[in-house]
Symmetry: C2
Subunit: 345 residues, 2 copies
């Protein structure tokens, strides 16, 4: 297993260290190469993602990323030039974001039901395409545009993936989230594709919700969701909210998948670089550890993936949530659980 690691900025390196500690327990032979992309490199050299580095990244089986972003860098530079560039160059069209309320974890919502959903967010189109511009900047007649681009090709592949995932889950339920009553063109394409693909999945029940209504139901009735499929921006919004409802982005993992496997997929916690707590050794590495489990799953290593997930579930059920411990201590605990499982399981 050849793994590229981009620790990145802020708490990124801190949580990645623990994720690799846990990985070491299940795949000790993983070959790891680190890439120092992020704010520091940009400050030092002006480089975001040199072609040569991108070429090297392509030679790996997967990429583990900590977090990208720093207050010293103007908004958008690292996001568009590094994180989104990776997602687009490596054709990460399926942005997979499970949201599960683990036993023992406190939800901000009162009397939460069982929540176990996965959001399949399109990753290479929509408003993230970077298509837009400024006209007459800094004049009273300035116009700024942002164009959401949705293609039959791009929508169909992510919808197919979402249906396949729904078909493999016990509830076999899929919800398309969009805003078809306002975004009538993109909404029409998304609706038609979902309808067409659903014909090949008579076992999967299909629902539709407007994005505004979906945010309501995520806090009042999250149990209704099994698989959600949605576009890039709506997926960004819904997955942060779903993470909040299931205990916070400190626990939320994600995979940026090229499901064709032509390019390495990239795994990262949903949280950002959290500059406010960086360097203190208090960030929760759980989301990064769960991202490793998603990665192993994607690489066909299902047994170690299950073992990591079970260890996280056990730790979340038993930890003192008021003081879960330092970053390294959580990592130590999870590593020990994973390795004890090796011996006993």
């Amino acid at each position: 297993m050849r793994l590229a690691v981009i620790p990145g900025d802020g708490i990124g390196p801190e949580v990645v260290a623990e994720a690799l500690k846990v990985l070491g327990e299940v795949v000790p032979a993983a070959e790891i190469t680190r890439y120092d992309l992020g704010a520091a490199r940009w400050h030092a050299t002006g480089e975001l993602l040199p072609e040569s580095v991108l070429g090297e990244l392509r030679q790996h089986d997967a990429i583990l990323l900590g977090a990208v972003g720093d207050p010293s860098v103007p908004s958008g530079i690292l996001e568009r030039g590094l994180l989104l560039r990776l997602r687009f160059e490596l054709d990460h069209h399926v942005n997979l974001r499970p949201a599960r309320l683990y036993p023992g974890v406190r939800s901000p919502i009162a009397d939460p039901p069982e929540i176990d959903m996965v959001v399949v967010r399109e990753g290479t189109e929509g408003l993230y395409a970077g298509n837009g511009g400024l006209l007459r900047k800094d004049t009273p007649h300035e116009i700024a545009t942002e164009v959401s681009i949705n293609t039959s090709f791009g929508v169909e592949r992510v919808v197919r993936d979402a249906f396949a995932r729904a078909a493999n889950r016990p509830r076999k339920h899929l919800t398309l989230v969009h805003k078809t009553n306002v975004l009538t063109h993109a909404g029409s394409l998304w609706s038609r594709v979902v309808e067409e693909v659903s014909l090949q999945h008579p076992d999967v029940t299909v629902a539709y919700q407007h994005v505004d209504a979906a945010t309501i139901h995520l806090v009042t009735d999250p149990a209704r969701y099994d698989v959600i499929v949605t576009d890039n921006l709506f997926g960004d919004i819904l997955t942060d909210l779903a993470a909040a409802v299931t205990g916070g982005i400190g626990l939320a993992a994600s995979g940026n998948l090229d499901v064709t496997r032509r390019n390495p997929s990239m795994f990262e916690p949903v949280h950002g670089s959290a500059p406010d707590i960086a360097g203190q050794g208090i960030a929760d590495p759980t989301a990064a550890v769960l991202s490793v489990a998603l990665m192993l799953d994607h690489l066909g290593e299902h047994e170690p993936a299950r073992r990591i997930e079970a260890s996280v579930a056990f730790d979340l059920a038993t930890r003192d949530h008021a003081s879960p411990g330092a970053t390294y201590a959580v990592g130590d605990r999870l590593a020990a659980l994973v390795s004890s499982n090796v011996r006993t399981g």
Copy 2:
């Protein structure tokens, strides 16, 4: 006071009847003209908003709208052709949506803090501009676009309004919500405008949040918000979530304002036509009644507006939330409270 009323579809007519009952207690001389726009008229005549009706609407001091939308009408027809057309033709650039957790109302979030915020949503631009299209429809090469249009003119007027509102509130705090790290063009315009206008409001503190982070904080720390200013789509999403957190869209009022007063402003509950419960007489008319209070405020009738709000607050603090009563009963209760206030207050 010349008032145009569009009861609309589903529960729209039911809640509007109660709102007018309450209005009758405070402004008995209001002159009311009804317009039968909505699903039924579209089915019967194909008309959505005839020019002649639009011309008549313009002659009024304000418009009260129930709700628009019906499952028998393809998605987008009534929304784009009637509701959004009204907002755009009448230049409703400030979409005002207060979210307050009234004493006695149950929030879906555990141990909710005091919540009293107002979202100032831009109403005439962004992704709602209706700019986009389909290319190569129904082929494997189909492309659907949606263009968010943001102008210096449009952003500045809503940002100015939001700052003025913030300056008039005790906490004097304004949060810009956007996604500047991805939507860099529109984000740049919004950020620059907020920065510029803030120079004229040194008394107002300013914060920025990405829309995804804002959905997290709306459920984990909603008390941090005072005034939020944001674009049309983000405002749509955040106000449904803010309504959910403060007890549901059954209580959420909104005003679509032309703050220049060249056109009549339009007031409507945030909820939709709710076809699932229409005709049963069980819809909660509170949001429509609160929309009347917003309308009176806008028309300078502050005392009656306060009286309606106080009556709603009293009713919410004392009602049996498990069975708040039939639509007409809630209306009767609120009308009685408002009129008793007249005598005693």
